[in-house]
């Protein structure tokens, strides 16, 4: 869509600029990466509902601690998300290069794998926190709606940034926007601007280190929160989250 549909509306003076084209492609890679992870978090929410018996059991009566369980799953999520980013990168590169008849290769592919891997871990921790909170407040039936919250919020906030109307506070503090910022940065090879219209003029850039720090802070908060919430988990029979 980004390559063939939305690109039709781009003014002609920009289409010929390599700088614009690589920025445009990087932005789409950021959007695709963030939204893919957000979609993944919906199914992750359900995963946590299915392990409300087995997780407390193996922690109590197995050779695994909550900390090591989360750490191992986090590593798995990181690797899986990195793999996902590689597939996305191949498609983004292929489709956009063909659409613009220009070689639009990513500048820092390894960084992109690391960044999307981090993003995957964030969404994993967020999905776990959502489910553990629902269990705690006894609102498991709401999972069908609530599991979509990360995706809905990601769509809203990231598109606000893409279209240049997001507040600076949101761009700096929202984890969803920081995942987008870092992913686009990895493809572009340099910090992205606050507003994509400014890509040509290189005006007010978003520093990637800030984004990494903010994202890490969010991840640490969620990790600690999950470890705490996990101790109060209670068994949820599968039938309990059926709606009909």
């Amino acid at each position: 869509m980004g390559a063939y549909l939305f690109s039709r509306g781009i003014p002609k003076e920009f289409v010929d600029s390599y700088r614009f084209k690589i920025g445009y492609t990087a932005s789409w890679y950021g959007v695709a990466g963030t939204f893919s992870l957000a979609a993944l978090s919906v199914s992750l929410c359900y995963y946590f509902l299915f392990i409300t018996s087995s997780l407390p059991y193996i922690v109590k009566y197995g050779r695994v601690s909550l900390f090591s369980f989360f750490s191992q799953i986090i590593l798995g999520t990181f690797l899986y998300s990195s793999f996902l980013s590689a597939i996305l990168m191949i498609f983004t590169y292929g489709i956009f290069s063909r659409a613009f008849s220009t070689n639009l290769s990513p500048a820092m592919p390894v960084t992109a794998f690391l960044v999307i891997g981090m993003g995957g871990v964030f969404y994993y921790l967020l999905a776990a926190a959502i489910i553990f909170i629902l269990i705690l407040i006894k609102k498991v039936k709401s999972v069908r709606l609530v599991s979509f919250f990360p995706m809905m919020i990601s769509y809203a906030l990231v598109y606000l940034q893409v279209f240049g109307v997001a507040d600076k506070t949101i761009i700096y503090t929202s984890p969803f926007n920081n995942i987008y910022t870092l992913t686009a940065y990895a493809y572009l090879g340099k910090p992205i601007p606050f507003k994509w219209g400014e890509v040509i003029r290189e005006f007010q850039l978003l520093h990637p280190l800030n984004s990494v720090i903010i994202l890490l802070v969010w991840m640490i908060i969620l990790f600690l929160m999950n470890i705490y919430l996990m101790r109060n988990i209670k068994e949820i029979p599968i039938e309990e989250f059926r709606q009909l």
Binding site: Y57, Y61, R63, K234, E235
Partner: protein
């Protein structure tokens, strides 16, 4: 080994188990016999720490249930605890044996002995009810725990395989808490202690089981009964004096409701 003191357990405002107390010593074998809906699985959940008692306390190996972590000496066949990953039975055996510290070769030998080789490539939820409980029995027994909790281990299991599981349990060295509604299997466990569970209340212990099976059920008052149980608002009495029914004539304890109507 297991010490349960005055626990009330339930879901939300509903209390299923009321004022339950009993204990199990090392290597002791105990059967809890109760009809469907009497609170047997709720008790298993409470002992496993999946359901927090509203009152009272549970201790396992001398430690409060809330404080237990990394205690591999207990295992169960309760199926929901084997849903950590959506993998086939072969991988599930590997995963849980690794987590519990058991012997994978022993687990595979049990699989072969029960003729379950074909289920190794299938997922637990894809199996029949009988196959599923057999696999869960193996998952529990394979780590050779000191304390084995078995919830309805013979449910939907065919007679040939039931015999093999009975054999395994007869020769088991550790403590066993066997929870069932099937009276017909009790004759295989003559040295077990017996508790009844009816409508959330526990009655017992009666031991040894070999003598208990020959007792009579009295629907009317009898002198010096072993035990008096409240069922459906009525009282039934167990005594060795000839009475209305012989306990072992009931294949399934749930049938007791039929004679009370």
């Amino acid at each position: 080994m297991l010490e349960i003191i005055n626990i009330d357990v339930g879901y939300g405002k509903e209390t299923i188990l009321k004022n339950i107390s009993f204990d199990i010593q090392p290597q002791e074998k105990v059967v809890i016999l109760g009809p469907n809906g009497s609170g047997k699985t709720t008790l298993v959940k409470a002992i496993l720490g999946l359901l927090k008692p509203k009152n009272g306390s549970i201790k396992i190996f001398g430690k409060k249930i809330e404080e237990i972590q990394g205690e591999t000496r207990l295992a169960t066949n309760y199926p929901p605890v084997y849903s950590l990953l959506l993998v086939n039975v072969g991988d599930l055996l590997d995963l849980y044996i690794n987590l519990k510290g058991g012997d994978i070769e022993y687990a595979k030998a049990l699989i072969n002995d029960l003729g379950l080789e074909k289920v190794l490539k299938r997922k637990l939820h894809q199996l029949s009810a009988g196959q599923r409980i057999l696999v869960c029995n193996i998952l529990a027994i394979a780590s050779k725990p000191e304390f084995l909790i078995l919830d309805e281990p013979f449910e939907n299991v065919d007679p040939a395989r039931r015999g093999k599981i009975l054999n395994l349990l007869q020769n088991y060295q550790g403590a066993i808490l066997l929870i069932t509604h099937q009276l017909s299997v009790l004759s295989y466990f003559p040295d077990y202690s017996l508790y009844f569970i009816f409508e959330g209340k526990i009655y017992g212990p009666l031991r040894p089981l070999s003598k208990i099976l020959d007792v009579y059920i009295h629907l009317k008052e009898v002198e010096n009964p072993f035990l008096t149980i409240e069922v459906g608002g009525k009282k039934i009495h167990l005594s060795d004096k000839p009475g209305d029914y012989k306990l072992k004539d009931f294949i399934d304890i749930t049938k007791i409701y039929e004679v009370l109507v």
